[in-house]
């Protein structure tokens, strides 16, 4: 058990009311950390089973949408006898403010963890105001 214990069960993602997904597959909400540094906002998402080819990040207006597609794996000569997790895709959307420089967003995937770096736009970076002597 991790020291900082949180619910480890993956939460299924909600569909917009009255719609269904075309693919008959489970979709989960990835757990996400978001932190802010002086120049960037960093988003870290747990997406086990996803590699760099399966991630789709779109930014439309001010909605950042993250989709992670998991490749189905199957054990040959073995049958599932005990299960605590389901494999499925990941989807989550965030609204972001205008202060992000949209052209320089970078994303990497390593060991099933997606990391999106959203650089802050020059105009909104905090500036230190020098006080002139009167």
């Amino acid at each position: 058990m991790a020291e900082d214990s949180k619910d480890v069960i993956k939460q299924p993602a909600a569909n917009p009311t009255g719609t269904e997904r075309t693919r008959n597959r489970r979709v989960f909400v990835p757990r996400v950390d978001i932190y802010e540094t002086a120049d960037t906002i960093v988003l870290v998402a747990d997406m086990p089973g996803v590699d760099e080819t399966g991630v789709d990040i779109t930014l439309e207006k001010n909605v950042l949408n993250i989709v992670g597609e998991v490749k189905a794996t199957e054990e040959k000569e073995y049958s599932l006898s005990y299960a605590e997790y389901d494999a499925g895709d990941y989807e989550r959307a965030f609204t972001i403010s205008d202060e992000v420089d949209r052209d320089r967003i970078e994303a990497t995937v390593k060991n099933g963890v997606l990391r999106v770096v959203l650089p802050k736009a020059e105009a909104v970076k905090a500036r230190k105001i020098a006080i002139k002597a009167a």
Binding site: M1, A2, E3, D4, S5, K6, D7, V8, I9, K10, R31, V32, D33, I34, Y35, E36, T37, A38, I41, V42, V44, D46, M47, P48, G49, V50, D51, T73, E75, E77, Y78, S79, L80, S81, Y82, A83, E84, Y85, K110, N111, G112, V113
Partner: protein, 146 residues
């Protein structure tokens, strides 16, 4: 001027909506109690086969160098460390949902494992351990003498 009015005055109550509400409430409670999944980290799936088992675990962001897998007799222990990004002073979290820190989990298997031939791979945040059954425990065919 009958049912609804009486109900509103509280003299006679239609029990049906109340029973339905209670039923829904009970269903909700039992549905969450009977959750099929454990709460331990990492979550595992186990696959059984003729020659042994395959255990997979969702372990996003674990350092494969620091991942420790050991087999003793019929138990498999997975332990490791999930590191959180170190924040410098002045940096702050907007939200923190991922768990971090040290984790250990031991699973008891239905057979003794041939420890020398255990194979583990870690890809895309999923740990995959192949656990062959020890030679001594494999089923043996008994020949019938005439």
């Amino acid at each position: 001027m009958y049912g609804p009015v009486l109900w509103r005055f509280g003299r006679a109550m239609d029990p049906w909506p109340e029973i339905q509400r209670l039923q829904q409430e009970m269903n909700r409670i039992f549905a969450s109690a009977a959750q099929p999944y454990g709460h331990e980290f990492p979550a595992i799936n186990a696959w059984a086969g003729e020659n042994g088992m395959v255990v997979t675990a969702e372990l996003p962001g674990a350092d494969p160098e620091k991942l420790d897998i050991s087999v003793v007799g019929d138990s498999l222990t997975i332990s490791g460390y999930r590191e959180a990004d170190a924040l410098k002073p002045g940096e702050s979290y907007h939200r923190q949902e991922r768990s971090c820190g040290r984790f250990t989990r031991t699973i008891q298997l239905p057979f003794h494992v041939d420890a020398a031939h255990v194979e583990a791979t870690y890809e895309r945040g999923i740990l995959h351990v192949v656990l062959p059954r020890s030679e001594a425990e494999k089923p043996k065919k008994i020949a019938i003498k005439s």
